[in-house]
C-alpha cells in the first residue's frame, strides 16, 4: 500500500495555484476581486428575502412564483449561475419542505448566494435525507408530529427555494420590513421565520 501524499495547507495550495495561473495569464487579481465582492455584497440571501416578502404581500406574485419560479424570481432581476431553473416550495402549517444536495453543494446562488458551512457539511448532507426531523430538532426547529416533512435532494440543475410561512403578528409590516425578517436558513427549510 502506498501512502497518500502529505497534506498541503489549503491556504498555501490556493496561493501557489493562483500564482501559477496568474503567471500563465489564466487568472488575474481584478477578476478575483470582482467575484469575491459580488458574492460578499450583491448576491446573497437578501435577494431571496425580497422574493419571499413580495410573495407574502402580493397574491398575484405568489401565484406566479409557485407556478414558474424562474420567471417570477427573474422579475426581480435575480438570475445567473446556479439559478437556471428555479422551483419554489411553499411551507404551510401542514407541510414543511427542506432542501439539501447530498452529492455536492448545489444551492440557488442568485437568491441565496453561496451556501453556508452547515449546508456543505457531510453531517447535514448525510443525515437530512435519513432523519430530517431529528436534524431539524438539532438545528432548533421542533416540528409537531402532525407536520409532514418533505426533503428535496438537488441532484440535477433544478434549484429549490423554500417559501416560508409568514409569521403571525406581521399584518402591518411593509414589504421591506418583512424582507428584514426572512433568513437564509428559513429559505432552505431548516428554520422558520420569527418576529423578534
Amino acid at each position: 500500500m502506498t501512502s497518500a501524499p502529505e497534506h498541503l495547507d489549503p491556504a498555501l495550495r490556493v496561493e501557489a495555484l493562483a500564482s501559477l495561473l496568474i503567471e500563465r495569464g489564466l487568472l488575474d487579481e481584478a477578476t478575483i476581486e470582482t467575484f469575491v465582492k459580488t458574492y460578499e455584497q450583491s448576491v446573497g440571501p437578501m435577494n431571496g428575502a425580497k422574493v419571499v416578502a413580495k410573495a407574502w404581500t402580493d397574491p398575484g406574485y405568489r401565484a406566479r412564483l409557485l407556478a414558474d419560479g424562474t420567471a417570477a424570481i427573474g422579475e426581480l432581476g435575480f438570475k445567473g449561475p446556479q439559478g437556471e431553473h428555479m422551483v419554489v416550495l411553499e411551507n404551510t402549517p401542514a407541510v414543511h419542505h427542506v432542501v439539501v444536495c447530498t452529492l455536492c453543494s448545489c444551492y440557488p446562488w442568485p437568491v441565496l448566494g453561496l451556501p453556508p458551512s452547515w449546508y456543505k457539511d457531510p453531517a447535514y448532507r448525510s443525515r437530512v435525507v435519513r432523519e430530517p426531523r431529528q436534524v431539524l430538532r438539532e438545528f432548533g426547529l421542533d416540528l409537531g408530529d402532525d407536520v409532514e416533512i418533505r426533503v428535496h435532494d438537488s441532484s440535477s440543475e433544478v434549484r429549490y427555494l423554500v417559501l416560508p410561512e409568514r409569521p403571525a403578528g406581521t399584518e402591518r409590516y411593509s414589504e421591506a420590513e418583512l424582507a428584514d425578517l426572512v433568513t437564509r436558513d428559513a429559505m432552505v427549510g431548516v428554520a422558520q421565520v420569527t418576529v423578534p
Partner: protein, 219 residues
C-alpha cells in the same frame, strides 16, 4: 463513482454544525479558492460536470479536510487533466512561497478536451417524448458507474413515484467525460422514507431529480 462525496444516508458524521450567519468567506484565501473553482471549467476547457467529478475524485482524507480544500483540489485536478498545471508545480511553488529555494518543474503542455456544446447553460429541448409521466411508479436502476453520475447510492434499486417532469438537461454522466451532451429527460421522483430506510424510518417523503437513464418502470 461510489466515492466519498455520495454521503446520503451515511452514518457517523455526528451532530450537524450550528446555524450561523457567517459571511461566505471566513478568510481571504477562501474567496480566492472560490474564484479558482468557479473559473476552473473555463480555464481547463471543460465543464461544470467535469468540475464536480474533479471534486468527487479528491481522495477521501483530503475531501473531508474542509470544503475549500476539496473545492481547490477538485479545480486543480481538472486543470491537471487538461495540461494546465501539475501537482509537482503547485508543491514547488508552495515551497518557494514558504521561503524554501526548491527548483520549479517545467509546465505541462495544454491538451484541453474538445466537446461540442449545444449552447449556454445545461437546459436543453428534446424532441423525443419522455418515457414516464406524473404518477408513474419507477425504480431507480442499480447502476454503479465508475465515472460521474447524479444517481446517489441511497436511491438505487428503490421504487418511487414521478411527481414532476423537469426541464431536459445535459446528461452529467457523459458530459463530465466529454462524451457528448446527450441531453435527457429529468423527473422529480418521490420516495417514501420506509422504502429508503426500512420500516423503522422516520415518516417523511424524499424527492430527488433523476435522469431518464437512471429509471426503470416499477411493477
Amino acid at each position: 463513482m461510489d466515492g466519498i462525496h455520495d454521503v446520503g444516508g451515511m452514518q457517523g458524521f455526528g451532530h450537524v454544525p450550528p446555524l450561523t450567519a457567517a459571511p461566505p468567506f471566513a478568510e481571504p484565501w477562501e474567496g480566492k479558492a472560490f474564484v479558482i473553482g468557479a473559473l476552473a471549467a473555463r480555464i481547463s476547457g471543460t465543464n461544470l460536470h467535469a468540475f464536480r467529478h474533479g471534486i468527487e475524485r479528491v481522495p477521501p482524507p483530503e475531501y473531508l479536510a474542509g470544503y475549500w480544500n476539496r473545492w481547490t483540489i477538485g479545480a486543480q485536478t481538472i486543470m491537471a487533466d487538461s495540461g494546465i498545471v501539475t501537482e509537482e508545480e503547485v508543491r514547488a511553488r508552495a515551497a518557494r512561497l514558504s521561503g524554501r529555494d526548491v527548483p520549479e518543474p517545467p509546465p505541462p503542455t495544454p491538451h484541453k478536451p474538445q466537446m461540442a456544446s449545444g449552447g449556454a447553460g445545461n437546459l436543453r429541448v428534446l424532441d423525443t417524448p419522455p418515457a414516464f409521466t406524473v404518477g408513474d411508479r419507477v425504480r431507480a436502476a442499480d447502476l454503479h458507474p465508475t465515472g460521474h453520475t447524479k444517481l446517489p447510492r441511497y436511491v438505487r434499486g428503490r421504487a418511487g413515484t414521478v411527481t414532476a417532469l423537469q426541464p431536459s438537461q445535459v446528461f452529467p454522466d457523459t458530459a463530465a467525460h466529454f462524451a457528448g451532451e446527450n441531453p435527457q429527460h429529468c423527473y422529480t421522483v418521490e420516495f417514501d422514507s420506509t422504502e429508503l430506510w426500512g420500516p423503522g424510518a422516520e415518516p417523511f417523503r424524499l424527492s430527488i431529480d433523476l435522469f431518464e437513464p437512471y429509471l426503470e418502470p416499477a411493477e
